[in-house]
């Protein structure tokens, strides 16, 4: 005989047909007589059918192309690799080659110090190169641009640039920093919103992508 605890442990495997026939038969017999386990089975089935509704979104249509082009670009030898290839002479005749390189460095160093006027050292401004924007998959693609414009206006912001990109439309906008979080919260009314890690460009403007894909 099989007890309730054992049945509960195997219920998922039983429902999804993973069990061997003999154990499956034992559970089936137990379920006929046990009200508690019947309830468990019913609830688990409901849970699994609800789980079925939470499917992940479709991968973007040009995914394969993106991967292959990235592989292609990484396969091409980089500038440093080319330089290493060209300087392989260093490894064949190390002493004369190193002496020549050292002499060249010395000459460049001396001429630089003799002929260049002194400059103040100013630290370069850091730039955030990667921007992962806010992405909106619009509920109503036809009117999403005008709807977004309305939302931006209502928060006292301004759309600076609008451009077509492969994923959809890229919108650059400026907004008062204090109103930012409530503005982002209100974007949900336009469709499905994904917030990127760095949604601002180096000038502090917000970048939004209105995707073509309608979920």
């Amino acid at each position: 005989m099989i007890n309730c605890e054992e049945v509960k442990l195997e219920l998922f495997d039983y429902i999804t047909g993973r069990l061997d026939p003999s154990l499956s038969e034992k559970i089936k017999e137990h379920l006929k007589i046990c009200k508690d386990c019947q309830k468990e089975e019913k609830e688990l089935k409901s849970l699994l059918s609800l789980l079925d509704t939470v499917r992940s979104p479709e991968v973007s249509p040009n995914f394969v192309q993106k991967v292959m082009s990235q592989i292609e670009s990484k396969k091409r030898p980089s500038l440093t690799q080319k330089l290493i290839e060209k300087t392989s002479v260093l490894f064949k005749w190390p002493f004369p080659a190193l002496a020549t390189v050292a002499l060249l460095f010395l000459m460049v160093f001396i001429s630089y110090n003799l002929f260049t006027p002194e400059k103040e050292l100013v630290p370069k401004k850091m730039e955030i190169i990667t921007v992962s924007p806010i992405t909106i998959t619009p509920a109503k693609p036809q009117t999403v641009l005008s709807d977004l414009k309305e939302v931006v206006n209502s928060y006292g912001g301004k759309i600076l640039k609008r451009e077509e990109i492969p994923q959809g439309i890229k919108v650059t906008l400026r907004l008062n920093k204090e109103k930012e979080s409530s503005f982002i919260a209100s974007l949900k009314s336009l469709g499905k919103v994904e917030i990127g890690k760095d949604y601002k460009d180096k000038d502090g403007n917000i970048i939004i992508i209105l995707t073509k894909k309608n979920s």
Binding site: F12, T16, I195, K197
Partner: protein
């Protein structure tokens, strides 16, 4: 409804046969073969990343990175494991790296904003969504279904990333516990008990709805 185990077994056996030939060609630098691999597994890898990260934007990046790492390391792949288990293991590691980076970055601030969004915005349903839901008898039914789906999503979000990945691997992909144990680097017994616990947690989270018979 739920994926039946026998159907999954047949699909996986077909996958294994196809993969052996494709991987062999890819190992011999046949780029077309690798492209076929990407094409075949793009959605499955993306799904796994989506369940692990629960974010569409990062999932696509993670899936791309998975294939790039797979391309670089394909010559090291030994045929003692099924190719897809090796590929999924790479995906898990890529996602773990992303999670680590996220923890170090400002992501926590954004998740706070997202929580705020959930509280502030009302749950609305567009006309298109209502019309698209074929099963809905009327708008109210569709609204209720959408509401339940969103509750389910919130409950899933409470699970750890590893447990979410487990649901995708075992329930949606129909993998064996042994395969999931290799992919997640966990003992087989832990995989099964974690799955049972995850389902119990989801059931507890949805208890009020399951008891009312709303699902």
């Amino acid at each position: 409804m739920w994926i039946m185990w026998s159907k999954c077994l047949k699909q996986r056996s077909k996958d294994k046969d196809e993969d052996v030939k494709l991987v062999e060609r890819a190992k011999a630098n046949d780029k077309k073969a690798f492209e076929e691999i990407v094409n075949k597994y793009q959605q499955r890898v993306f799904d796994l990343c989506y369940w692990m990260l629960f974010c569409e934007f990062n999932s696509e990046d993670a899936a791309q990175e998975t294939f790039i790492r797979a391309y670089k390391g394909i010559k090291k792949f030994r045929e003692d494991a099924a190719f897809y288990t090796w590929l999924y293991r790479i995906a898990i590691n890529v996602c773990k790296d992303i999670i680590k980076k996220k923890e170090r970055s400002m992501e926590k601030v954004f998740s706070e904003i997202e929580k705020e969004m959930e509280v502030k915005t009302e749950d609305t349903l567009s006309i298109e969504e209502i019309l698209l839901d074929q099963k809905a008898v009327d708008a109210q039914d569709a609204l209720r279904k959408k509401e339940l789906r969103e509750i389910m999503q919130r409950c899933i979000a409470r699970l750890s990333e590893q447990r979410r990945a487990l649901i995708d691997l075992i329930y949606f992909k129909g993998l064996k516990y042994k395969e999931a144990s290799f992919i997640l680097n966990l003992p087989e017994g832990t995989v099964k008990s974690n799955l049972v616990r995850s389902l119990q947690m989801l059931k507890k989270c949805l208890e009020p709805y399951l008891q009312k018979g709303e699902i």
